[in-house]
Amino acid sequence: MDATVDAEQAWRDLQRIRVPQERVYDEAERCASSGLGTTWATAALMWVFLASMGLELPWYGVLLAAVVYVALLGWLVVAFNRRSRMRLHRSRYTWHTVASMALGGVLTGGTVLLSGWLVDSLHPGVGALIQATATAGVFVLFAGPVNRWTTGALRGHAERVGR
């Protein structure tokens, strides 16, 4: 095989590399925009778990509910992963991904605490329902735009570093 390559050919090869990589970012964006089912399922699990806290369960009941909640979240992640056609390489993620996860945690946790404080005077069952609904609602409203922001930033980052 002839290994000599002139500059024009090398330039064309560098441009050719960009095309399949664009397909990967297209797929990442498609997954982010079509992952609404997973978002709703996560929110539903969160709602059930938080609402169950209003049942004034004994400590082992709370522990069991937490274990079941975490297990179901894990199952959801595995199911989503099985449906995926590819996974972006770890080197392609940016600080936006970490920031969005941290912000999601702060926002969801903050809503749990704030709504818990606001409904403190209500009956525990009713208070837990309001708390669960507020938290799950904030999660659903937050997840879509942040997913789009994160995946958009991935492509922008790749273009800046020239892949």
């Binding site: 024009e8 330039w11 050719r16 590399i17 095309v19 399949p20 056609r85 590819m86 972006l88």
Partner: protein, 121 residues
Amino acid sequence: MSTPAGFDELIHPATRLSVVALLATTEWADFAFVRDSLSLSDSALSKQLGTLQEAGYLDLRKEGGGRKRRTRVALTERGRAAFEGHVAALRAIVEGAGAVGPSAGGPGAPEEAPAAPEAAR
């Protein structure tokens, strides 16, 4: 003309370069995703993957069974290093020619969105 260190003849052919470039962006990708993204036939992609696997550049893993059986393709560390070396070599060739001056559509020309090659349509 001599080629810079890192230039890899195995991944130099256009289709194989596209396959490796796609896989370099991923941890893993489904066979079907690679095939569809590059508009290749099953047999053409299998042939390219076989060549790369023999060189130790990628791993093929079959998962599931029956109708849900799928093949996941991932670059190995060796394959990733070879791709990065190859890209660095291509850049070195382009930069080496930069002193000569840009030509229309050539290495010194302003960067534009490239036309999708036939293999990637």
